[in-house]
């Protein structure tokens, strides 16, 4: 038993090493390139509020949607051994519903925003249920099942708003998308924090984490132990639906308009990448939400670093690909085994003392 716990602990430690090394490398690279990259200042926005500004802030702010989606995606990945590729399309639908409900009322107040968000949530959860039923009841691989919504999701979003890209302007929407007056931290960051705490509480008060992992590791064994795999899978998709609605709402609020074509475009690929960089196996099983969140920030930091180096937004993808390949090569089991052998032979004494402390 002791051995197993030790193994698990080491596993979770090494899971976070890659994303942390990636962040460290990026930070060092930026430090050498331009120390001014890290400067955080206080500037005044159009409303005259004092707000934090700087590259680091824009990294943490810009990754908000990605981080929220990555949290939900981690659950789906862990339970279903596959990924949902329809999150971008579903977020466009959620955003469209959000705007549609806002536009339906005569004026925008706190209550209508809440109502709009709740309806976006319900719609996104319904689509999540659709995906979830395909995956859990009909036993279709997640990527194939969600390919359906991926294909037609943005068209449905288009159809909801009748082909237009309506704008919404209200101080509440601006507050959600950028800053609440008096608080210098961008609101999307606070939302990510809130969602992360919700996940933490969910795992603390329920056995969802354990159940999800056991379904992902061995479905039949989980069923024999009284866990309902169908329900767990369905639940993971519904939770992802809520995350999608939150991400869609942030995305819409940031711009103040819904553009079904460009809202969170290609975010599904980035989300899956965040989950993978976070050290989670895309083949399901054990997972760490914190890894995925760090993964999301790694991706955004990479993007912002490239922007700071005057790489045009269309070319960023090529450089991103190279970094991703380097990261996954370092993290690949073959290279990892070779590296750990090498490190073991060098630090064999040190390792033993560390092990002693853990045991």
């Amino acid at each position: 038993m002791k051995k197993i716990t030790k193994k698990l602990f080491q596993g979770s430690l090494s899971q976070l090493t890659i994303p942390l090394i990636a962040i460290a490398l990026l930070l060092i690279f930026n430090l050498i390139r331009d120390p001014g990259f890290f400067s955080i200042g206080i500037s005044h926005n159009n409303d005259g509020n004092a707000v934090l500004a700087g590259n680091l802030i824009s990294i943490i702010n810009g990754a908000s949607e990605l981080a929220v989606l990555a949290m939900g995606m981690t659950l789906v990945t862990a339970a279903c051994k596959g990924q949902d590729i329809s999150v971008g399309a579903a977020a466009a639908i959620a955003g469209s519903v959000f705007v549609k409900v806002l536009k339906a009322g005569s004026s925008i107040s706190g209550l209508t925003v809440l109502l709009a968000f709740l309806s976006a949530c319900v719609v996104a959860m319904l689509f999540g249920t659709f995906n979830g039923i395909l995956v859990s009841v009909f036993k279709i691989q997640p990527m194939i099942a969600t390919l359906i919504l991926y294909t037609c999701g943005r068209s449905i979003a288009y159809w909801i708003n009748g082909g237009a890209t309506p704008t919404v302007s209200s101080h509440i929407i601006t507050a959600i998308g950028s800053f609440i007056p008096g608080i210098p931290i961008p609101t999307p960051v606070l939302i990510v924090l809130f969602v992360a705490i919700l996940f933490r509480l969910l795992f603390h008060f329920t056995s969802l984490e354990l159940f999800t992992q056991s379904v992902g590791i061995n479905q039949s064994a989980a069923r024999l132990n009284g866990i309902n795999p169908t329900f767990i899978k369905l639940l993971s998709f519904i939770i992802l639906g809520v995350c999608v609605a939150v991400a869609g709402t942030i995305g819409v609020s940031r711009l103040g308009l819904i553009n079904h074509e460009t809202l969170l475009l290609d975010v599904e690929m980035d989300t899956i990448l965040a989950v993978a960089i976070g050290g989670n196996s895309l083949g399901g099983g054990k997972f760490k939400i914190s890894g995925s969140i760090i993964g999301a920030y790694v991706i955004q930091m990479l993007t912002i670093t490239l922007y700071a180096m005057k790489v045009s937004s269309t070319d960023v993808k090529a450089y991103k690909a190279i970094v991703i390949v380097i990261l996954v090569v370092i993290g690949s089991p073959v290279v990892k085994a070779r590296l750990s052998k090498l490190i073991n032979s060098i630090f064999s004494k040190k390792k033993e003392t560390v092990k002693g402390v853990q045991g």
């Binding site: 099942a145 390949v325 996954v328």
Partner: protein, 343 residues
Amino acid sequence: MKNLFGKRREPLTDTQLLMTITIGIFAVMYILAMALLGGGFLHTQQIFDMLNDNASLIIVSCGLTIVMIGGGIDISVGAVTSLVVMSCVLYLNNGGNVFVSILLALGIGLGFGLVQGFLISVLDIQPFIVTLAGMFFARGMTTILSVNPQKVDHEAFNRLRDAKVEIPWLGYVAKNGNLVPARLEIGVIVAAVVVIVIFILLKYLKLGRNFYAMGGNQSSALMLGINVKKTRFLSYLISGVLSGISGYVFMMHTGAGNATNAAGMEMNAIASSIIGGTLLTGGVGNVIGTLFGTLTLTTIKKIVVSSGLNDPWWQSITTGGMLCFFILLQSVVLSKRSKKKKS
């Protein structure tokens, strides 16, 4: 392996059953379209147009089918196609010759296949991540080469592009009394050759059977003495080369390079393979089914357009609906069969 043991117990393998369903549905759909909508569907040219427009998609889907039979996934195919188009167009416009441009196309495809295959099979990295990176890289390189659309301005290539196979007896008489012969592009012939070659590879060659064995159950394939690493490497290599060929065919069809070329082609290719009866879990699939999968997908789009649903959202919504139908059908059919087998 499947043929040896499967023939006595069951009349059709899963692969054959799913393919038969697809072909059947395609035939019924096309006949219904001919009967109810008439018009263009009555001419042979309609089918030929579908082939002309989708030759490169068919080629790419064949490569993807092999990868999927082997239990993997390759989502870089559309981006590689786009990169090949752009590089060949720029090369030709800077005074290259046609033969070298074909080599260039094959070379790019081969390069992607080699690197991705190496990363996936030797370093054991998840195929989705590797090919996603490949997709990002190819799309990024395309825009680095040129953000603006480029038109080919090359005499020899233009002759190749405009060369068409004309079949007069399949043509129709136009309203002004002239006979319009049915036209097939060179790309379709390339696609046909690819489909036949891959079909033979999968059905009769040892390598092809190894793909099925590997996708069906990797560890038993290993125990049968199949070199799984090499087989997996080769599946990505073939897919890469086919993306290169597809890029050239795409260029012969459009005659121009654009950063948004072949956007979303990977998902169309995956959809074609699925509709054609390939399972993403591996071990089941057929390239003839994939061909009909592509045709079914195109027919749906054509039917939507000709039934007057011109709003831009209808095409993808019906495609999604159709996809849903096929996926559910396969799931139900396969689960019924497995229940039967057990009892």
